[in-house]
Symmetry: C2
Amino acid sequence: MNFSEQYELYHAHFEEYLQNRCAGMAFKPDILTESMRYSLLSGGKRVRPVLFFASLEAFGQAYRGEEALAFAIECIHTYSLIHDDLPAMDNDDFRRGKPSSHKAFGEANAILAGDALLSYAFDIALGECMRGERYIRAAQALSAAAGAAGMVAGQSLDLLCTGKGGGERELLQLWRDKTGRLIAAPVVMAALLAGKYADEAEQFGLALGTLFQITDDILDAVGSRNTLGKSVGKDAREQKLTAVSVYGLEGAEKQADRYACKCKELLHTMAGADIAFLEKLVEYVRRRDR
Amino acid sequence: MNFSEQYELYHAHFEEYLQNRCAGMAFKPDILTESMRYSLLSGGKRVRPVLFFASLEAFGQAYRGEEALAFAIECIHTYSLIHDDLPAMDNDDFRRGKPSSHKAFGEANAILAGDALLSYAFDIALGECMRGERYIRAAQALSAAAGAAGMVAGQSLDLLCTGKGGGERELLQLWRDKTGRLIAAPVVMAALLAGKYADEAEQFGLALGTLFQITDDILDAVGSRNTLGKSVGKDAREQKLTAVSVYGLEGAEKQADRYACKCKELLHTMAGADIAFLEKLVEYVRRRDR
């Protein structure tokens, strides 16, 4: 099986689970369920769930039977996009080629959809905790990555730097917290479930998250709305702190190459892990949407 | 010890723990920690933590050593107030006599402070899960009460009914979800930790939550900003669905009396529990701020 086929296998497996979970949702009032579903089912490459499944296999664990935690991760990612798009935050009217949540349901409902998805993620993660200590540790890793010591800190720093510049030091922190932590989470969680590679997994995941954010910054500068499905060129207009604002476009490409190399080096520190797919995933993130 | 002294004992114990936790917070950027602290430390009667401690003692458990879960509950309550006050939601400029979070820190930072507190609550609850299955169940109860099957559903219904009327049926649902679930949570969590009274605790907690919301509705109609520390008379102006809008002021007072009686009856179903303080707490909620 080549990389694309394997990606599609993980992706389809997650998508089927997601569809079933969404079909079974019956929160009242209906608009709450609709708004949660709308954002969960708006497509996307499902990088985090795929990364979770692939990491489990790389570390010698079965990924079938671990769909709930993949779903919890995706719920947190989805909540973060909804709140990030709000008028008071990035004020983005489009997400994945569709109107963003606050455009489709109004601002108040979008705030609540995000709150609901964040709570739901922990509901699901806590539901796995009875399976044993490894699951508790995995849920803790997710919580740490999402919260005030992780992604929310990144969003806060992003706000603080917007329009005010900032240098390489702030950029490194932004990469790590805003994107890195929640990309690293599935790899770290898989390592915790497997009972090995926890430190290496975190280092690799953070580097991959940084690579992801750099390519995001590059795509915002050069991409078009059609291929990206969201507004582009906004970073520069809004004076965001990005890889492109600090290094220029060419410099950002070099940084991306550097982090892609770093990712692969870090993969090789996991002696005995089956890293073939993850290595190709690094290339996929490096070249996505180009 | 009389009721007030006992309340003050629980209150002071929680407040000391809270102050220490807040002093130890060092999330970056600083504004994130400041905004979380600002709302956590803005006073309030700490009804939920007091109810948690009192329920533990009523059910034969020590409350010392269980401060973390009390703090997690208060974090969720605090996040809900921050998001509830946002311009897109209830648009309240004052909370507990101080500018609300979005007035003090701006809207984007207020959204993030709420997101951070919600994540933090689960971080703390997950930190207790290693203590055993009872703690996992208690954390699950908190999560269920906070999320799309609980408080967030109540907020969503509140939005839906505002300006559009609604009758007794919607009001009962609103009482239960918007307020009841998170007032019931500490009682249910205490019962789960004690390993008894779980069903009775939920019934009592939901009735107490309803009583709490009815008195809130009455206070909004008759109170003044000075005693309440927040904007008043807003419910009527904004055509909120409340006990007063459905039953009138006199009818709402009767409903409050009815629920206060119901609370006490439900307390007596818990054979062997030491309900003396909780009975007086019912009276305290019935008469608060009058």
